[in-house]
Amino acid sequence: MGVEALAESLGQNVLTTTLGKLIGWGRGNSVWPLQFGLACCAIEMIHTATASVDIARFGSEAFRASPRQADLLIVSGRVSQKMAPVLRTVYDQMPEPKWVISMGACASTGGVFNNYALLQGVDKVVPVDVYIPGCPPRPEDLLNALMILQERIKAQGITPRQ
């Protein structure tokens, strides 16, 4: 193959981009959530993974059982005072970079349960990236939150988490 022909074929097949954009694109489209169900919202989280909503369209169908393999912690339900240290441990076990979605009213603010037993918002123990309202939120709400998160991951690029 001549040099001209090579250059011509390369011209049709090469994209130039920045490394940050490439990494952001890769990370954003393969967010693996942790399989961590707490309460009612966990059932809607399962709905998100099944056929009618199908989170696989956004590259997040691989719910991992081990925190070591997960990028995303979906806090799906109310967090009790007894569960809070466990939740923090699970979060600490996840490798960087990692993100947290607080799913539903209970995880975000304590919801209808304003009492001694529950943590009034999971953001008191782990940093939260996206909050979803609803009790429980619809599966589509979770998808929407995932898409918001993907936008943020893509914009973040190679820079470490602030």
């Binding site: 007894k82 304003n114 001694y116």
Partner: protein, 161 residues
């Protein structure tokens, strides 16, 4: 048949028949009822009658046992009133195995001590929790004004009412 001498009061509330027995004879009374065929303890719980003016209560804590005869489909509720700090009553977990966890829960939530229970420890709250949440003098907790971020944190003792 449960001896009449054990029963201090009996009645019907909204269609449910109930008897009251003395706190010290509750084990005997339940054993007698068990012999009568009331083999299932549906639940066991406690009611705190602190500052309850609906009637005259013999004591602050009322322990409630709901029993059922699965053959004749009859139900009976047994009440026993106790006081003291901590309030004490005999365990019935040797008669009814499901009472084991129910008594642990009642201990956890109301601080009622069940004498003779094999393993009376907290079941729902963390081990180092202070106080017994379902008592009427325990605050509901949480944030009094929502989103004010002012709330009791874990492991602090509740205010004494």
């Amino acid at each position: 048949m449960i001896p009449e001498t054990l029963i201090t009061e009996k009645g019907v509330s909204a269609g449910d028949s109930w008897i009251t027995v003395g706190a010290e004879t509750v084990h005997d009374a339940l054993a007698a009822l068990r012999e009568d065929g009331y083999r299932l303890l549906v639940f066991l719980t406690c009611v705190d009658h602190l500052a309850d003016s609906s009637r005259e209560w013999p004591a602050r804590f009322e322990i409630v046992y709901q029993l059922r005869n699965m053959e004749s489909r009859e139900q009976i509720r047994v009440r026993a009133f106790i006081d003291g700090d901590p309030p004490r009553i005999d365990s019935v977990s040797d008669l009814f195995p499901p009472a084991n966890w129910d008594e642990r829960e009642t201990y956890d939530m109301f601080g009622v001590v069940f004498d003779g229970h094999p393993d009376l420890t907290r079941i729902l709250m963390p081990d180092d929790w202070v106080g017994h949440p379902l008592r009427r003098d325990y605050p509901v907790g949480g944030e009094v004004v929502e989103f004010s971020e002012e709330h009791a944190t874990w492991q602090t003792a509740p205010e004494k009412a």
